[in-house]
């Protein structure tokens, strides 16, 4: 069993189930799969359906990706296409 401390908990906020949203999700999952080898949980929230969650998390823009665990919490916005930038933004330390 893997150590729970190494587990990543992430939330992705998107706007509507659009083509762009689907593309973003697919791309992100590919990157996470290759980097974290399944050691992550990704929750996807549509702000159109859950504005109160967006309020609680103080989301301003989409797409926003939040790394909740492990600390520190990181929020990144902008197109999630560049693997290097995503890893840097989320403070990942690749082993």
């Amino acid at each position: 069993m893997e150590d729970n401390a190494n587990r990543y908990i992430l939330t992705l906020y998107i706007t509507g189930e659009t083509q762009t949203s689907r593309k973003t999700i697919t791309l992100l999952e590919e990157i996470l799969d290759s980097e974290l080898h399944g050691m992550y949980e990704l929750k996807i929230i549509d702000v159109l359906k859950h504005p109160q969650l967006a309020e609680d998390d103080k989301i301003l823009a989409t797409p926003t990706l939040i790394k909740i665990l492990p600390p520190p919490v990181r929020k990144i916005i902008g197109e999630l296409t560049d693997k290097k930038k995503i890893l840097l933004g989320l403070d990942f330390t690749t082993k």
Binding site: P51, Q52, A54, E55, K58, L60, I77, D82, K85, G89
Partner: protein, 486 residues
């Protein structure tokens, strides 16, 4: 035409004086922008708009904050005695917290602000809001690299808020380059109304000013107006629009002093709506004449206002008491009201507004200003005094108020024989175009004594005595003794 007029109705903000200035309020269901450099009171305006909306008009509010946290705002407004916490708990007020409480890293510039948009919409639904404020959007711009995305999202928000029928007030910093524009050009999408705030240097303190740069499709009073931030929030002191004055005076209605001889000299008293200059050197009894005029008004069942610019009200009351007039009681009974001001930095609009308020409040028909000279020796220059009096005169004529303005002249003393009238100061004459009458009080040195003389120099639209009379003041009682003949 009627259709167009119906197109934009107005929403009372509830802010003292602002609705008068805006001739009804802000354009309802539209977005207005309030701009100004730091510290000019933008946020207080927004808070007043929200708070008064909820508490006075039952119009709930949404506060979108880009700068301070809701917790800080809640604390800040406690100073005004406003309990935001319970308003939030009772679903009268909702915050959309966009304060920079965490770091957002931009890994690309391709993002949109739909969540913000949805959050505002959600908050409006949550409390059924009718009013929304965005404070202050520069902080929003400052946080993101993609200014175009910010701009287009604000545009989208403004359009959407209009479609929801809420009235929005947005604050933005104004650059100090004098162009009158906001840093990020917000006017482009919030152009239904633009209000500008400023701080201008007075002699001892800063004066706060507000002006309307534009309001689409409706009227407003133009020009700079003063405002103040008090313990109760904002108070704007709108100027009185002079053009709209309707004369409401009847010269056959006379207001007596209650001094038989003097009233006879005035052919029955001072006509309704007249502004009479009571000019004299120090000690000639101007204040006593003024008090006498007011007391006689009260005796005749009228209400009166004393504008005390020379001495403290308590001191005036004491003097009146010595004369046998119970000003304290008159005031308690609502027959007499006082207006006073800080003489170091007299603020025209504010003083004007207080006088108008006092007159309206008790329905006064007599006003004494003691004295006009104080205005000049304070921070107003001659032209400002003239403008002030023109506005006041317009208001008094509309209301049919008769006013006595005391005026201190220095050189009405020591006229030589045969030249009793030689020394009327030119200043008197400059004011004379505004005044409907002039009563002169003079000292004359004759033999071994100094005598007090009175003459009615002018009384518009009425006959009056041209003679010089001697008068005396004993224990505060004025008595006209006799025609003075040399």
């Amino acid at each position: 035409m009627e259709e167009i007029r119906k197109g934009i109705s107005k929403l009372n903000t509830g802010i003292k004086g602002l609705d008068e200035m805006l001739m009804g309020g802000l354009p309802k269901g539209r977005a207005a922008l309030i701009t100004g450099p730091t510290g000019t009171g933008k946020t207080v305006f927004l808070n007043s708009f929200i708070y008064l909306g909820i508490t006075r008009y039952d119009e709930n509010g949404v506060y979108v904050t880009f700068e301070e946290t809701p917790q800080d705002i809640i604390l800040n407004v406690q100073g005004f005695g406003w309990d935001y916490k319970s308003l939030v708990e009772n679903k009268r007020l909702a915050f959309v917290d966009v304060s920079p409480n965490d770091v957002i890293m931009e890994i690309g510039t391709n993002y949109d602000f739909t969540p913000l948009f949805k959050r505002i919409e959600h908050a409006i639904e949550k409390v059924s809001a009718k009013r929304v404020v965005l404070d202050c959007i520069d902080a929003f711009f400052a946080r993101f690299l993609n200014k175009d995305a910010v701009r287009s999202s604000l545009n989208q928000i403004a359009v959407h808020l209009k479609s929801l029928g809420v009235t929005t007030l947005i604050s933005g910093e104004r650059t100090s380059d004098g162009s009158g524009h906001t840093r990020y050009g917000i006017e482009e999408f919030v152009s239904d109304a633009v209000l500008e705030l400023d701080l201008v240097g007075g002699q001892q303190q800063f004066l706060r000013t507000i002006c309307v740069r534009k309001i689409r499709g409706t009227n407003y009073r133009s020009g700079l107006m003063e405002f103040d931030i008090t313990s109760e929030g904002i108070e704007v002191f709108p100027k009185i629009p002079y053009k709209k004055i309707e004369m409401n005076t009847d010269y056959s209605i006379r207001r007596k002093f209650g001094i038989r001889q003097l009233d006879r000299m005035l052919y029955g008293g001072i006509p309704q709506g007249h502004m009479v200059l009571l000019s004299g050197n120090t000690g000639t009894g101007k204040t006593t004449f003024g008090m006498q005029f007011l007391v006689n008004g009260i005796k005749e069942g009228e209400n009166v206002v004393f504008v005390a610019l020379e001495e403290p009200i308590e001191q005036l009351k004491k003097t009146a008491k010595n004369h046998g007039w119970d000003f304290e009681r008159f005031q308690k009974e609502g027959r007499l009201d006082f207006v006073s001001t800080d003489l170091i930095d007299i603020r025209n609009d504010r003083l004007l507004y207080s006088i108008v308020n006092a007159v309206n409040c008790i329905g006064a028909s007599r006003v004494v200003i003691d004295s006009v000279s104080s205005l000049m020796s304070a921070s107003m220059n001659e032209e400002q005094v003239r403008q002030f009096l023109i506005q006041l005169s317009g208001f008094f004529k509309e209301k049919g108020v008769t006013c006595i303005m005391n005026y201190l002249t220095g050189s009405s003393f020591g006229a030589v024989k045969g030249q009793l009238m030689s020394n009327i100061m030119t200043n008197d004459m400059r004011l004379s175009s505004i005044t409907d009458g002039i009563i002169l009080l003079l000292y004359v040195e004759r033999g071994q004594s100094v005598k007090k003389m009175l003459n009615i120099l002018k009384l518009r639209g009425s006959k009056h005595s041209k003679e010089v009379y001697r008068y005396e003041i004993e224990k505060g009682r004025i008595s006209i003794i006799e025609k003075y003949e040399e």
